[in-house]
């Protein structure tokens, strides 16, 4: 702990730790919906589009972050529309956005000549370089994201897990999708300049991936992911100080280790839970679903599956 005092003696470390908490909290709160939609790499894709946005901003002399935000939001909306009306599935559309973003950036950069060098500034960063102004941005971001998560989380989850039903039941699906997209874009664009694209996009997904292994409900997964996000971010920053490694990479490696441990551990946990459940259950019949999923490829269902359901519904009288 003497060491911890030493760490806290550096302002930049204190700021890095605060940034770790804020970003570690906000990123998974957005990411859980992306995982739900099976578009885990969308954050990365948005980062690539931001490259084009920054290059455009530099070329036209506009504020690069502003232009990057506008461009990413437009690209993300285009992605939504393609996903909805095109014959291409989400991953393909994501790939188009991904490669389009990079190639656009590359070609613009080549055209932009001298401004190009400035580009990287907007894409890469290090959590240890967080400034007090950055911290304020992160704080606002965290508040906005958490507020959206609390207020609209269930709606966002509903749209992410069954868009068709959400639309049929009168939820404003397009609005919610765009909101999620904008939240993602804002989170990525604002954070990546400071903490780097690797870190922000990994922090959106990996805590969720780990939490997923241990939880069975959406709500619990979200809470656990946020806790894991904060925990690993803090641990990562501290470790990178002691082990003399880059902070971003260290946090990400922690997240991956966490995922691997969780994936392995969940079998054990589920076994225990199962035993407990068996204890509770009068008949000793298996109650909790356990064990790994079957090999089902989890591909998308075709437009119409085919089934009928017994329906009944007294509880629904009005």
């Amino acid at each position: 702990m003497g060491d911890l005092t030493a760490v806290l003696g550096y302002d930049f470390m204190v700021r890095a730790l605060v940034a770790a908490v804020l970003v570690g909290l906000a990123a998974p709160a957005v990411g859980v919906f992306l995982v739900q939609r099976r578009l885990s790499l969308v954050g990365d894709g948005i980062g690539h589009v931001a490259l084009t946005g920054v290059a455009l901003g530099l070329l036209t002399g506009q504020a690069p972050v502003g232009v990057a935000l506008v461009v990413t939001v437009l690209a993300a909306v285009a992605l939504e529309l393609l996903r909805r009306y095109g014959r291409a599935s989400g991953d393909v559309v994501l790939a188009v956005m991904f490669y389009g973003g990079i190639a656009g950036g590359v070609v613009l950069v080549a055209r932009a000549g001298e401004s190009a060098a400035t580009l990287n500034t907007y894409l890469f960063g290090a959590i240890t370089t967080t400034t007090p102004a950055d911290l304020r941005v992160f704080a606002v971001l965290a508040v906005v994201v958490l507020a959206a998560g609390l207020g609209l989380g269930r709606r966002l989850a509903a749209v992410s897990s069954d868009e068709e039903h959400a639309r049929a039941s009168g939820l404003p699906v397009t609005g919610l999708n765009i909101l999620l997209t904008v939240l993602t874009a804002v989170t990525v664009v604002l954070s990546m300049r400071v903490v780097g694209l690797l870190l922000i996009s990994a922090l959106m997904i990996l805590p969720v991936a780990a939490a997923q292994q241990l939880c069975r409900s959406f709500r619990a997964t979200t809470a656990a992911a946020m806790a894991l996000g904060v925990l690993t971010s803090l641990l990562g920053v501290l470790t990178s100080y002691y082990a003399d490694t880059p902070s971003g990479g260290t946090i990400v490696l922690y997240l991956i280790a966490l995922f691997v441990v969780a994936a392995g551990g969940s079998a054990v946990l589920r076994a225990l839970r199962h035993r407990a459940a068996r204890g509770r259950s009068a008949h000793g019949a298996p109650v909790a679903p356990t064990g790994p999923r079957p090999v089902t490829p989890r591909t998308a269902p075709v437009a119409d599956g085919d089934a009928q359901t017994a329906s009944s519904g007294p509880g629904t009288s009005r």
């Binding site: 859980v32 992410s160 049929a168 069975r216 409900s217 997964t221 009928q308 359901t309 519904g313 509880g315």
Partner: protein, 309 residues
């Protein structure tokens, strides 16, 4: 419209006027006129590919309307309002995603459109979810991951989600497929009670059996057009009614190719179904309707698979 609504109302709850729906350039449902009054229970029948699902999806705005009008309660539909008054059970299990969701969470999404976004779930929501879960007998599975349920259990979850919204109009796309007989009866009974309370039902099904007591009126689609609209008379329960011409043709080819005659039926007469009006199940109720058997008779197809209503 010859429906026999459980309760008579004056304005139809749902009205389609020359409505066409399709995918892209393709028109699947073509110029359908349909009125469903509040409190009515209507079965939508037709062979595979006849456009039943497309019609339901069109009414909900999930398939593109390419012509005509849809109204709900006199207002143009689909609107956000019309959707909130409608509960929908899709034909396929559509709930999915990368993050586990419990049965309760899925059913609770049915409540979302009913409250403003800033209001958290209240006691009424919890009660409605619980009631819906009990109606499909899934309460004991409330905290399990939906993706780890059996097929029939998943279907029941979808029904519960629709019920949780306490809709005025309940639209069910093959709600009985894959559900065991006991639960099928349970669900049918529940639908019956809903209907008795004035909820309007529009049910797509290939198994009218368990619903025979609930549904009073049948609409039959063939190739995207309404070919019958009237009381659910016995003959409609026969296969001919819901078979399609293709099927019959296929059967003919089949029989021909293999030189095997159907072992327990006579060679169908060209208009077979017309010849067996008497096969309507008696009070036994659960017997399989013999008419179920005759439809793909080759010639029958030619006869257009049409039946009297």
């Amino acid at each position: 419209m010859s429906g026999s609504p459980a309760r008579a109302h004056d304005a139809p709850l749902l009205r389609l006027v020359g409505a066409s729906f399709g995918y892209g350039e393709r028109v699947v449902v073509d110029g359908v006129d349909l009125e469903v009054r509040a409190g009515e229970s209507v079965a939508l029948l037709g062979s595979n590919g006849s456009g039943k699902t497309t019609l339901l999806r069109g009414v909900l705005g999930l398939a593109a309307r390419t012509g005509g009008r849809v109204e709900m309660g006199g207002e143009p539909a689909p609107s956000r309002r019309s959707r909130r008054r409608t509960g929908y059970v899709p034909q396929a299990m559509t709930v999915g995603g990368g993050v586990p969701s419990t049965v309760r969470e899925v059913v609770a999404t049915g409540r979302l459109p009913l409250r403003p976004w800033w209001r958290p779930a209240g006691r009424a929501d919890a009660a409605a979810v619980r009631a819906a879960l009990e109606a499909v007998d899934m309460a004991s599975h409330a905290h399990e991951d939906v993706t780890e349920l059996s097929g029939g259990q998943q279907r029941r979850v979808l029904v519960a989600r629709a019920l949780a919204a306490e809709p005025e109009l309940l639209v069910l796309d093959e709600p009985l497929a894959g559900v065991d007989a006991a639960n099928a009866r349970l669900l049918a009974d529940a639908l019956g009670r809903l209907s008795a309370r004035g909820v309007t039902l529009l049910v797509v099904t290939h198994e009218i059996g368990p619903l025979a007591d609930v549904v009073r009126r049948a609409v039959v689609l063939r190739q995207g057009r309404v070919v019958h609209d009237g009381p659910l008379v016995p003959e409609l329960l026969g296969a001919e009614a819901v078979g399609d011409a293709d099927a019959a043709t296929g059967a003919a080819r089949l029989l021909h190719d293999h030189h095997v005659h159907h072992h327990d039926e006579d060679e169908p007469s060209p208009r077979g179904w017309v010849d067996h009006p008497d096969t309507r199940p008696g009070p036994g109720g659960l017997a399989h309707h013999p008419e179920e058997h005759d439809d793909e008779r080759p010639g029958a197809a030619a006869a257009g698979g049409q039946r009297r209503g």
